[in-house]
């Protein structure tokens, strides 16, 4: 059975299921309900099959690749390579997709009779399928095809809620950015083709040494830009906080959890596999990008009061953390410390997996809150926990995981990342380890700021008094949605609990890459998930920690609740408000919570504060009528980078349009002039 599954047939089966799902829901689009059920049912089916596929693949190392020559394009060979890395990413994709689809079953209901559900199901399935194609395709052209299918389908999902002007704008920005990225990628592959005469990854890999050094560097830069746009590294990230909120929540979960990881996948594929050997400055660049992205990402997240934008910025932050791992892996790889390089790669992969889990969990729970309260603005939430207790719990787990609190999964991947950076600091000479010090510092501060940010998020969404009427009508979300969230929450606990086994699996994945084939591991896992880095430099046992924490908290709970004076009375009364009757306007707001941090980092964030006061008596100005204070953070990137570019091209095009002046004599004079030029100068 498994043999059959982990083979071409299984692969085709996988894709065909999604295809059936998409087309079926398109055909059923007359009836919203059926279309929704059909589309998501097939998505669930396909992705659970994919999960089995990848797990059995990783456990049994039964990697396979196949290709046959193309229809008429001589270089468009239909070639796929399902190795361990691809298997791992298929696993991540499927894992997230299953629960997003479960969630969608209930979530999509509120689109009924508003938009065409069939189209949603169509593009949703196509998106998942294209993600799987991306990580498996082993030919640049096929890769680009899958890549663009992913971009286009996700674009149509972003503009799905098209009656909102801002969504269309966001989609526009997104598609432009991603197309520019594709152009860069295409050019990078063309450069590779120029020297290796092939678009097939395996062939490229085998005669990579034909590419001269400086060309390799150009390729690196282009692929950084191309894939970095998709991964959302700063400053190429501007589409991300715009597009992810625009999409329906289960889609934004998929996009933020998985889609941006395809950029990471290609980074790994190119830098750790195909373009090997690599110069050191690539790794340094990656680490610097990672440090900047993680720190700035979390800072921008702090400034947000749109919940989905906040989560989107956290995706940027986590991409940064992943890149820290990857970059250190690349540096170690250059220095020939292969086992350490493997360790860092494991850290990156582990964080990829974890971030996929808890970020999609967060997006889903945020989505179910938005679905009830009908706004993304956190200032209008408050006290939701009383109306949606389970969603609140899921969001809490998600926030603890993302801010790397033990015993959830986020902690362990960040721990691993920290360890690899520590190793860099300890073992490398001063001309390298400064970069690791920088990375560690940024990671440390990122952790602290992320914690603050999620206290803010959870507090202002779920705690205290409701700040708007809509909250009071909120109800706990439907069963299928809770299933989706609940399982992801469960996974973020389990992945933490069994982080040892996960690490071993990831090591296998890493060793799947040819450069790590015979590298001895620097991680040893024993017994109760005790895993040690580098001969006991540091060690941690996730399992016993988990048990111990639970026990101790239970213990203290029992002791103090029941042993010490069990007949204590508990009086419910209203919060003390210095004698005034406290209302929800007096609570701390989202902006207020983050303001102190924003002011501390005002050098980077460039906040601007305008206040205007309207007076009853405009001349004497004694009796103010109203006072409005607007506190916002300037988007330096669009101001100093993107707007100027746009201006330049607009100006250029307006200038060029003058050519078409409408005067026929002029037109003929063009012909005359070009004739003269060609006759007298070109010849």
């Amino acid at each position: 059975m498994l043999q059959l599954l982990t083979s071409q047939i299984g692969f085709y089966l996988l894709l065909s299921i999604f295809l059936i799902g998409s087309l079926g829901s398109l055909f059923l689009s007359k009836n919203d309900k059926y279309a929704n059920i059909w589309g998501n049912a097939f998505a669930i089916l396909g992705s659970s099959l994919g999960l089995i596929f990848s797990v059995s693949l990783m456990l049994t190392n039964r990697t396979f690749s196949f290709n046959f020559n193309s229809l008429y394009q001589h270089f468009l060979d239909f070639s796929f390579n399902v190795d361990m890395l691809a298997g791992f990413f298929i696993g991540v994709i499927s894992l997230i997709a299953i629960f997003c689809s479960f969630f969608a079953l209930g979530y999509v209901k509120h689109f009924y009779n508003k938009y065409n559900i069939g189209v949603l199901g169509f593009f949703y399935n196509i998106l998942i399928a294209s993600l799987i194609l991306i990580v498996t395709s082993s030919n640049a052209i096929w890769f680009l095809i899958a890549w663009e299918i992913m971009s286009i389908s996700s674009y149509f999902l972003v503009v799905y809620d098209r009656n909102d002007e801002s969504n269309v704008k966001a989609g526009f920005l997104y598609l432009i950015m991603t197309y520019v990225g594709t152009a860069f990628i295409l050019f990078a592959f063309l450069l590779i083709y120029k020297y290796t005469n092939s678009f097939d990854f395996s062939i490229i890999k085998s005669n990579i040494n034909l590419i001269p050094f400086h060309i390799k560097n150009i390729i690196f830069i282009f692929s950084i830009i191309g894939f970095g746009i998709k991964a959302g590294i700063i400053p190429l990230h501007i589409w991300l906080p715009a597009a992810h909120p625009a999409a329906p929540s289960h889609v934004s979960a998929l996009m933020s959890g998985v889609m941006i990881k395809t950029g990471i996948y290609m980074f790994i594929r190119l830098f750790m596999d195909i373009l090997q050997p690599i110069p050191v400055w690539w790794g340094v660049t990656i680490i610097i990008i990672g440090a900047v992205s993680s720190l700035l990402g979390v800072l921008y997240a702090l400034t947000e009061h749109d919940i989905k934008k906040l989560l989107a910025y956290h995706s940027i932050e986590n991409i940064g953390i992943i890149l820290l791992g990857l970059g250190s892996s690349m540096i170690f790889n250059f220095l020939g410390m292969m086992s350490l390089s493997l360790l860092s790669l494991m850290a990156a992969l582990f964080h990829t997996l974890n971030h996929a889990v808890f970020k999609s969990l967060l997006f889903l729970s945020a989505g179910s809150v938005i679905n009830e309260v009908h706004t993304r603005n956190m200032e209008e939430y408050g006290g939701v926990i009383k109306y949606m207790p389970q969603t609140a719990l899921f969001f809490l787990i998600g926030s603890m995981a993302i801010s790397a609190l033990p015993p959830f999964n986020g902690f362990f991947s960040e721990w691993l990342t920290f360890q690899s950076l520590f190793q860099g600091i300890i073992q490398l000479s001063p001309n390298f380890n400064w970069i690791f010090i920088v990375a560690t510092g940024s990671l440390a501060f990122t952790g602290g700021l992320a914690l603050a940010c999620f206290v803010k998020a959870f507090g202002s969404i779920f705690l205290a008094k409701p700040r708007s009427q809509d909250v009071k009508h909120a109800k706990e979300s439907s069963l299928s949605m809770r299933i989706g969230m609940g399982f992801l929450a469960l996974f973020s606990i389990l992945l933490g609990l069994f982080s040892g086994y996960t690490t071993i699996l990831l090591e296998k994945v890493g060793k799947g890459l040819s450069i790590f084939n015979e590298v001895f591991s620097s991680v040893s896992v024993s017994g109760d998930q005790l895993f040690q880095i580098n001969k006991g430099f540091s060690s941690i046992r996730s399992f016993s920690i988990f048990i111990f924490i639970i026990l101790v908290i239970l213990f203290s709970f029992l002791v103090f609740k029941y042993l010490i004076n069990k007949n204590q009375k508990l009086k419910i009364d209203k919060t003390w408000g210095c004698g005034t009757d406290l209302n929800s306007r007096m609570e701390i707001t989202t902006t207020g919570f983050a303001k102190s941090i924003i002011l501390i980092f005002k050098g980077i964030l460039k906040p601007s504060l305008q206040s205007e006061i309207k007076y009853h008596d405009s001349e004497s100005r004694y009796l103010p009528k109203s006072m409005t204070v607007t506190f916002k953070v300037n988007n330096v990137y669009s101001k100093y980078l993107y707007k100027p570019i746009q201006k330049i091209f607009n100006l250029l095009s307006i200038k060029v349009k003058k050519i078409q002046s409408g005067n026929i004599n002029l037109y003929i004079s063009y012909i005359y002039i070009i004739l003269i030029i060609l006759l007298f100068f070109i010849l």
Binding site: I437, F445, I572, M586, F593
Partner: protein
């Protein structure tokens, strides 16, 4: 024997922590030429609080209700995973520095949430400031501990405290720098001057007290106790990691008792210093604190820099 040691380690922190809070109070009182309450007053307060009835805000959710237990429990867990009086605990959970840091962060997280939960404006501002400070403190804390673990080639606190300082004479300067950084963080994390004023209520500058304003009865007791634990935890980390003298390296009764005495001595010294500081300097303006914490971070970075 081992199990006995483990239990001792488990109860040690909560047992001694109120005493040192009392000690600091005593020192401050003396410096203000007051008699001051007895050093054991804090125990009495906790006992009293534990037997009072509670008033809970009607806006509060289950977060508010369970937070104290989590906060307190976390301090217990950390108390077991750091070296106190013996450097090679026979059965230890984990002594990893990152684990300790992030476990304490769990406590901070829930403390801040509970502060926001009741919807009182005090609580909200308290949490905001608390999170700001702890976010800024994170770097300094990790780096100061990292410095030491680089010196001793391990991130396991027990192994570090096991190491012999005398063979590391060439690193003495960096250890001192790191200790300076650590001490600044200690003040921040345990809510002491110049960061926070543990004595006053209803002052706009307060951080910790603002968050727990709505608590009463045993939950208040737990939180107060937990904060005391946190202080002692930091103190003993400082004591055992940066100047690991006298900690017992084996499970012989005598050396353990010796270690305990040494630890108490060192923590008392800490408390005395803190008491002096608290009576000598004023509380800083809030926006000056980040600079201080940054300084601690820089100290540790320099320390790492001069190691190699």
């Amino acid at each position: 024997m081992n199990i006995f040691i483990l239990i001792l380690q488990f109860i040690f922190i909560p047992l001694i922590s109120p005493f040192f809070i009392g000690l600091i109070k005593k020192v401050k009182a003396m410096l203000q030429n007051r008699q001051g309450a007895s050093v054991f007053q804090v125990y009495k307060d906790l006992w009293k609080l534990l037997h009072k009835d509670e008033v809970v805000s009607n806006d509060a959710s289950w977060i508010f209700m369970i937070a104290p237990f989590i906060i307190f429990g976390v301090t217990l867990v950390v108390g077991v995973s750091i070296p106190l009086f013996i450097s090679n605990l026979p059965v230890y959970v984990s002594g990893d520095i990152l684990l300790v840091v992030y476990l304490l962060a769990v406590g901070t997280f829930f403390l801040a949430l509970s502060g926001m939960d009741t919807g009182s404006s005090f609580g909200g501002f308290g949490s905001s400031r608390e999170m700001t400070i702890s976010a800024m403190a994170e770097g300094g804390l990790i780096f100061s501990l990292l410095t030491v673990s680089i010196v001793y080639q391990t991130t396991n606190l027990f192994n570090i405290s096991n190491g012999n300082i005398f063979i590391h004479n060439n690193f003495i300067l960096s250890i001192i720098l790191a200790f300076a950084g650590f001490f600044i963080v200690l003040l921040a994390e345990s809510g002491r001057f110049p960061y926070d004023n543990p004595d006053t209520h209803l002052e706009l500058t307060m951080v910790h007290e603002a968050m727990i304003l709505e608590y009463s009865g045993k939950r208040l007791a737990l939180i107060e106790w937990a904060s005391a634990n946190k202080y002692v935890i930091f103190a003993s980390i400082g004591a055992n990691i940066f100047l690991p003298y006298g900690i017992s390296h084996n499970t012989a009764i005598l050396s353990i008792i010796f270690g305990i005495l040494f630890l108490l001595l060192k923590i008392s010294a800490f408390s005395f210093i803190i008491g002096v500081i608290e009576s000598k300097i004023a509380k800083f303006r809030f926006f000056r604190l980040p600079d201080l914490l940054l300084i601690s971070f820089i100290f540790s970075v320099i320390a790492i820099g001069i190691i190699n």
